[in-house]
């Protein structure tokens, strides 16, 4: 199943990956291969089968509603490239 450049560019934008034009050419057949694989999977008859939500046949453990984490700001913030007044700074985003 071939993918055109528009689809590829859109995927790249959604994934926030910058693609050079020459990369597009080599990626197209790779993606087509992945999609072929998916198509094979989709050909398997699945009527009456409960969709699988998790590979493990277990159920989620729940925790009690208790505050167990102390203020770790002093520990975590030095990891960030930029911070000010306790805030993590990022390139400006405007809605």
């Amino acid at each position: 199943m071939p993918l055109n450049d528009t689809d590829l560019k859109r995927l790249a934008r959604l994934a926030r990956i910058r693609l050079e034009p020459q990369e597009l050419a080599s990626l197209a057949p790779q993606f087509a291969g992945i999609l072929d694989l998916i198509q094979q999977l989709q050909a398997v008859p699945t009527q009456g089968i409960e969709p699988l939500a998790h590979a493990l046949d277990l159920e989620q453990r729940l925790r009690a509603d208790e505050v167990t984490e102390a203020d770790g700001r002093a520990l975590f913030q030095p990891l960030a490239p930029e911070m000010e007044q306790g805030l993590y700074l990022v390139p400006q985003v405007i809605e």
């Binding site: 939500a53 277990l58 167990t68 007044q85 805030l87 700074l89 990022v90 985003v93």
Partner: protein
């Protein structure tokens, strides 16, 4: 052309938990920036989410309160998008198997009980907060809110006017507070609504293209935003244009909605089951336990007030505005031993008005049900006129005290002694022979003159019905 308005509401109710939905960080409002963002909330490598039992229980509670189906097995999914206040690059939400499906909200609008069907209610985590001012060319990110548990409640497009949409949102707001799953504080963002609005020609089955108005954080703005959006869509269509499906933001200062994201940027969230979280099993026992602790719901209480107390639907709706108010009314009614209508009039009237004036909650009211009951007794036995009782209520509210002591102190009691009233009337008739003659000649208006003078003569303390009767009797000669 006549247009029909179609509205559906999505609400994010912040669940009342101490800790976050997937981490042990505190959810307390107003902390120093990032002081409540732990390694899980920051999405540091190697961390795993662990689900908060209380958040699931709140969702179950909501499901039961709206008569919905609570899923025996529920699944969490990743909703993928990039924004700096979402450090993982995805929000943990629910997609195919939400905890709650179906159900309905009953509400009261324009003196009518209406019902809106719910599509679903699912659990998810909140994102952080972005601050765009104060940092040149930078945005500041506070992740204290990241991971706060939310219940997203989605209604069917059953609403047909801005007023109904607001009435629905108010009823939902009242309900989540009532059942104790959300504090309902809109200023702090604990209850946020988005409205999906479209219009279609009356009689058309197919829905028009909708726009989503985001972040309506007050009921007043919600109504104004919808009214504006409906006008905009109708104007666009009547001018031969078409509506583009988009997200719009309401600007209260200019009273208009503006496009936020265009369709070109439409998100593709690529939902898939979160491999970090196993499916959640909700046993019948758990559901039964939650059901056992559910209080009488506002709509049921409203119906009971109408049926067993004979109150109007309007009064019953006002009285069930909050659990505390309904409790106040019921305590008062019990103390007084009946006369629900009198209790309702006073609670909906003077009491609510005084609460609003002083910006207080029911629990902080300075007049207790016992004090109000004492006051109402003195109305019932004729000691106080309605007007006097209102004056005394203000005194009780401002200064406190015991009703009977205040009546004695202030000489407030009503004059119902026929002898005293007759004396006043006779003196009045003797002093105004001309007016007496006019009245007897058929000029009925003069009656008011005598009532006024008589009331003045006894400083307003005369029992009005009695005064009227005696006056008519004496004037008739």
């Amino acid at each position: 052309m006549d247009w029909e308005v179609v509205i559906g509401i999505e609400t994010h109710a912040q669940l009342a938990t101490r800790s976050k939905i997937f981490s042990g960080a505190s959810t307390r409002f107003g902390a120093e920036p990032n002081a409540q963002a732990c390694a899980v909330d920051l999405a540091l490598p190697g961390v795993l989410p662990v689900l908060n039992r209380q958040a699931v229980e709140h969702a179950i509670r909501f499901g039961l309160a709206v008569g919905a189906t609570v899923a025996p097995r529920s699944v969490f999914a990743r909703k993928n998008y990039f924004y700096p206040d979402l450090p993982k690059g995805y929000q943990i939400s629910q997609y195919e198997r939400p905890v709650v499906s179906g159900g309905a909200i009953r509400f009261f609008s324009a003196e009518q009980e209406k019902t809106v069907r719910l599509t679903r209610a699912h659990l998810e985590e909140d994102a952080g907060k972005s601050l765009h001012e104060d940092f040149q060319g930078r945005s500041g990110i506070d992740l204290n809110r990241a991971g706060t548990p939310l219940l997203e409640i989605v209604s069917e497009p059953d609403l047909r006017s801005a007023a109904d949409a607001v009435a629905y949102a108010r009823a939902l707001h009242q309900l989540v507070i009532w059942i104790g799953i959300c504090d309902g504080n809109m200023q702090e963002g604990s209850f946020r609504c988005d409205a999906n609005v479209s219009v279609r020609p009356v009689g058309q089955d197919e829905l028009g293209t909708r726009c989503e108005i985001k972040n309506l954080n007050s009921f007043r703005f919600m109504e104004k935003a919808i009214l504006y959006e409906v006008r905009r869509q109708i104007r666009t269509l009547e001018d031969g244009g078409s509506i583009i499906q988009e997200t719009r933001l309401y600007d209260p200062e200019r009273d208009e909605t503006r496009a936020m994201r265009s369709k070109e940027d439409a998100q593709d969230y690529r939902y898939f089951p979160d491999p970090d979280l196993l499916p959640v099993r909700i046993s019948e026992d758990w559901v039964a336990q939650v059901r056992a602790t559910l209080p009488e719901l506002p709509a049921d209480m409203r119906a009971r007030f109408v049926q067993s107390y004979g109150l109007s639907a309007y009064d019953a709706d006002l009285l069930t505005g909050s659990q505390a108010l309904a409790q106040y009314f019921q305590t008062l009614h019990q103390l007084l031993g009946g006369d629900a209508k009198l209790c309702a009039n006073w609670v909906c009237g003077e009491f609510l008005a005084a609460l609003r004036r002083s910006e207080r909650e029911v629990q902080e009211a300075p007049v207790t049900p016992q004090q109000l009951c004492d006051l109402l007794r003195r109305i019932q036995d004729g000691t106080l006129s309605g007007k006097m009782a209102k004056e005394l209520f203000d005194v009780l509210w401002q200064e406190g005290g015991a009703v009977d002591a205040l009546i004695a102190q202030r000489g407030l009691s009503q004059i119902s002694d026929a002898g005293v009233l007759e004396q006043i009337i006779d003196a009045l008739l003797a002093a105004h022979p001309a007016q007496v003659a006019e009245f007897r000649a058929g000029k009925d208006k003069v009656f008011g003159f005598f009532v006024g003078r008589a009331m003045k003569a006894c400083a307003g303390r005369a029992n009005p019905e009695q005064l009227n009767a005696l006056l008519r009797q004496r004037l008739a000669g």
